[in-house]
């Protein structure tokens, strides 16, 4: 009997999931966005196969060459192949994007759950903290934090996470507040379940939809902030090729070799657009209330 109920529940949730998927994939923008994201992942994973040159190999005789058959995106001031550097750069962007948003999601979930579930003074304190964190622009806050931590890949992730956890906390808290008073949570409490079990097994799974949407829309922001920090010389340090740091050195040669700057920027537009298209479509599908 219990098994039957369980399997019926799984079947129903699966069909609901497939129903959502079907609706999502009927949306052309979503499919287009997803294709871009998958191509970027392919780029990052298969970078050694796609790259035509060693991304760090200097070749001074062929420095600052314009795009050609030998160097698809041209070469930089050390004769390094921009195409190969841009391909490898996708690794840094995706790594930072997901790691930073992952940390941010974790912190936001933790603080948002505490605020939403326990309420009272903890809630007021966390809410005030969130308001303060969100009152400042991400770039400026990230620069301030990098000034403390110093540059480097992990510090960049930490700086981005510290300046973007607020939105995750706010959404989580809102979900908790609306779910907390529902009957199935009351029932779980009466059954004597521990707070942790109620939070992890009953409330969180029901608040996933808006968090998934927010994650998809925060990753591209993180990618842009990383590029900006690296462009300012405060982010990823050479020789690791990040799109931002390639453009940072390209700036000095902008008028002689614009290709150094053009191509990494186009890649950022592409990947950010992919995430934005997919995220917007996901929001429309998962949370029709937000559609306008």
């Amino acid at each position: 009997m219990a098994e039957e109920v369980a399997s019926a529940r799984i079947a129903r949730s699966e069909s609901a999931f497939w129903h959502l998927m079907k609706r999502l994939f009927r949306n052309k923008a979503a499919v287009f966005g997803l294709v871009i994201i998958m191509l970027m992942f392919l780029c990052a994973i298969a970078a050694p196969l796609i790259a035509t040159h060693d991304y760090a190999k200097q070749d001074l005789p062929s420095m600052l060459q314009s795009p050609s058959r030998a160097h698809l995106f041209g070469t930089d001031e050390f004769g390094r192949d921009i195409f190969s550097r841009v391909i490898y750069g996708s690794r840094v962007s995706l790594k930072v994007g997901f790691l930073a948003v992952g940390i941010s999601l974790f912190a936001g979930l933790l603080l948002g759950s505490i605020a939403g579930y326990y309420g009272r003074i903890l809630d007021s304190a966390i809410c005030a903290l969130v308001d303060i964190a969100l009152a400042f622009p991400m770039t400026l806050l990230a620069i301030a934090i990098i000034a403390i931590l110093g540059p480097g890949l992990f510090n960049v992730c930490l700086a981005i996470a510290l300046s973007s956890w607020g939105s995750f906390a706010r959404i989580t808290r809102g979900q908790f507040l609306s779910l907390k008073s529902q009957e199935f949570i009351e029932a779980a409490k009466i059954l004597g379940y521990s707070d942790l079990r109620i939070i992890l097994r009953h409330i969180l799974p029901n608040s996933l939809a808006p968090l998934v949407v927010l994650t998809t829309l925060e990753v591209p922001k993180a990618i842009i902030v990383e590029a900006t920090l690296s462009f300012l010389g405060l982010g990823i340090q050479p020789p690791l090729p990040s799109w931002g740091s390639i453009m940072s050195s390209g700036r000095s040669f902008l008028f002689d070799a614009p290709w150094i700057t053009v191509f990494p920027g186009l890649m950022i537009i592409l990947i950010v657009m992919g995430f934005n298209l997919f995220g917007d479509a996901l929001r429309d599908t998962l949370d029709p209330r937000l559609r306008n």
């Binding site: 005030a128 903290l129 308001d131 303060i132 009152a135 400042f136 622009p137 991400m138 770039t139 400026l140 620069i143 301030a144 934090i145 990098i146 000034a147 403390i148 931590l149 110093g150 591209p220 842009i224 590029a227 900006t228 462009f231 300012l232 010389g233 405060l234 931002g244 453009m247 700036r251 902008l254 008028f255 614009p258 700057t261 053009v262 990494p264 920027g265 950022i268 537009i269 592409l270 950010v272 657009m273 934005n276 298209l277 306008n292």
Partner: protein, 306 residues
């Protein structure tokens, strides 16, 4: 009304307090002994202790923080380690450069975004709407500094319409302001569009239409005015983003503003200057938000009820 402002002011005071704590921590949380930043590593321990005492770095952190706040309130931001000048003097020299850029960019952004957003909303689900929103999507996806570099290359270098870098005339201001204005307008246009769509759905618009008012009057007199109210709040929310953008765009166009000063000082580990610029920038953002709140309350009579 008064309670609303009391609440806003408390929040703003808290925000400023939080930010000063982060900014104060800069010197102390950064790796290494702060003394190393003031003097070189090869001085005798006695000299180090003297300097530690002279700068008050031997006091407990809380005492140091209170001292930091006390001098902040007096407008004393300390001394630059590298340039040996008062930080407030360095900032005063550059403040206007950033201020001028941010204000111009904000105005440009709204001048571009409001007509586009309204047009898109009125032509909802037509080719016009789709192409405007596609353009806005590309704008949102662009890093601001990259767009600045592209404008610099095409408009200033190839077409020679504007000077490549520097500061002084409106010609020096135009491209940097346009860079921030367009990238910001991309996002604002979307918000204007949804605000306008929200208003068009309201009952009073249906009433206006059903009593036979011409469409032009319905849009201009009824829809537009109400759609613009939330946009004032937006104005406040965008100030922070615009100031952040100015910091980055100053680097691209080599404008001698606060952003340049801050980034150069971070790279040179000149912490008092970093702290000073941060304090000034965040205070400006907070004051900007306050200004937008006041405007909002003045424009929307409903706010008085809260």
């Amino acid at each position: 009304m008064l309670r609303y402002f009391a609440r806003r002011m408390t929040f703003l005071a808290l925000t400023l307090l939080g930010m000063t704590i982060i900014i104060f921590s800069m010197l102390h949380l950064s790796p290494g002994d702060p003394i190393d930043l003031i003097v070189g590593p090869n001085v005798t321990p006695e000299v180090r202790e003297n300097i530690r005492h002279q700068y008050g770095l031997d006091q407990p952190l809380i005492v140091q923080y209170l001292g930091f706040m006390r001098s902040l309130i007096r407008g004393d931001l300390g001394q630059s380690i590298i340039q040996h000048k008062p930080v407030s003097e360095l900032i005063a020299e550059r403040f206007y450069v950033t201020f001028e850029l941010s204000v111009t960019a904000l105005i440009m952004s709204f001048l571009i975004a409001i007509p586009i957003g309204i047009k898109a909303a009125l032509k909802r689900n037509t080719a016009t709407d789709y192409s405007l929103m596609a353009a806005s999507l590309i704008g949102i996806s662009m890093p601001t500094f990259w767009f600045g570099l592209m404008l610099l290359y095409i408009v200033a270098f190839k077409l020679r319409l504007f000077p490549i870098s520097g500061y002084g005339t409106w010609k020096h201001l135009f491209l940097p302001a346009l860079t921030i204005g367009i990238t910001d307008a991309a996002l604002v246009a979307r918000m204007v569009r949804s605000s306008m769509l929200e208003v068009i759905r309201q009952d009073y618009i249906r009433t206006a239409r059903s009593k036979g008012l011409p469409e032009r009057v319905v849009i201009n007199r009824h829809a537009l005015r109400n759609a613009l109210i939330p946009i004032i709040t937006l104005l406040g929310l965008r100030i922070g983003w615009i100031v952040g953008g100015s910091v980055v765009v100053e680097i691209v166009f080599a404008r001698p503003g606060l952003g340049r000063l801050m980034v150069d000082s971070i790279l040179a580990r000149d912490y008092p200057v970093v702290q000073g610029t941060m304090v000034v920038l965040t205070t400006c953002i907070i004051l900007g938000n306050l200004l937008a709140d006041v405007l909002y309350a003045v424009v929307d009579p409903r706010i008085k009820l809260r």
